[in-house]
Point group: C2
């Protein structure tokens, strides 16, 4: 796979071997290839599994070599996040401000959810990235166009991003928990509570343990967006 030509199939004659190490024909190490490798690990095992030695090993290289292309682990994860946000992309707008917002944040939720717990690095993502700026410009113009005051508009977008990020991160943590082992004991515990002191819980055990995570996300998104409607004048 890493060999350059098919001539590598036949063993090299000794006089052709210039140095003692293996043929260095492998693809050059770049920040992009490092991000590729890190993203693959994040997707399957989460950001906690992204160690410098692990990523380096996946690239057939040693950990310290990564530091020539990436400042440190933190920056590497931020580069992975940026890659994912590019996959989210800049939203198309239709003129329906609420539908546009809902579509974008729903897509963001779906895309982020497909990449492990990388959402964790979207908390307090500052300074902003190029893709973040482009997205913000697009959505900000939508809200300003329908008469939302600038400060409210800017803050509201931040709130929606924060909410979406949190939902994805929590979803990942729940998914990577032995949740199945806990849900029945918790159901029993809820049901066993004294009904006179905990009537609301005892009477609604099933809805409390409902696992429809998409429905939960949508409810919060709808709450935020319809709360924003107060400020829309046009």
């Amino acid at each position: 796979m890493r060999q350059k030509s098919n001539s590598a199939e036949v063993p090299l004659p000794p006089w052709e071997v210039r140095r003692k190490t293996e043929v260095p024909q492998r693809a050059p190490l770049t920040a992009e290839r490092i991000v590729d490798a890190a993203l693959a690990v994040v997707d399957t095992e989460g950001s906690g599994a992204v160690t410098m030695r692990r990523i380096a090993g996946d690239l057939g290289v040693v950990a310290s070599s990564l530091y020539a292309h990436v400042r440190n682990r933190e920056e590497l994860l931020l580069l992975v996040l940026e890659r994912v946000m590019k996959e989210v992309g800049v939203p198309e707008v239709t003129g329906q401000w609420d539908a546009d917002l809902k579509a974008h944040y729903t897509k963001m939720q779906r895309v982020l959810s497909a990449h492990g717990d990388i959402a964790l690095y979207n908390f307090a993502a500052f300074p902003p990235t190029a893709i973040g700026v482009a997205i913000t410009e697009r959505l900000l113009s939508v809200l300003l166009n329908v008469g939302v005051p600038p400060k409210i508009a800017a803050w509201a977008l931040h709130r929606l991003t924060l909410y979406t990020t949190a939902d994805v991160y929590e979803g990942w943590r729940l998914a990577n928990k032995d949740l199945a082992d806990w849900i029945d004991p918790v159901r029993d515990y809820f049901a066993s509570l004294p009904a006179d002191r905990f009537p609301s819980i005892v009477g609604n055990v099933d809805v409390m343990l409902d696992t429809d995570s998409d429905g939960r996300f949508e409810l919060g998104l709808d709450m935020l967006i319809s709360g924003l409607a107060t400020f829309v004048t046009d």
Copy 2:
């Protein structure tokens, strides 16, 4: 401080020294004292500074001793979170459902913010704690009393908790960032963007970089609560 009486000031006569080790009169190690020590570290340096050796050292003990009282580091941090949530407390209700919700989540935001980044451990906090159950029962009854459907009510509380948790965690990360070093460069960058392609940002640089974090939290909270009003029938 750790001595039992003031007689410890004068050196013990040799015949009073029963065993070769130091006087074992120190307070016994308990889970509560371990949580005390961990909470103090979380408050001042964040959960990342909570290492088993560090906490043990603060208690005049060795790391492995902690494991007799606490299962592992994760559980210790969850105990710290539980302590903090007890400080938040079960809300008093007045009958004004929206004011009650706002008061509780505002208090939760204030209390959590006073304890470093412990909010991080409130993501996917499951199974629920005793204090969490008590809070949920109280707020759930408030929403059910004004006619919110059970599923909406239960989910909405979860959404509000998630939002509040996320706000606090992001706030901590922002506070522990060399934000002052970045805010001016970002302002310049925003202002330098081509005004024809980024009119919304260029025209609102100041509100985008507004640092009124309380106002931001309140806006999102109001959006969520007023979005919930749709479901209130009584």
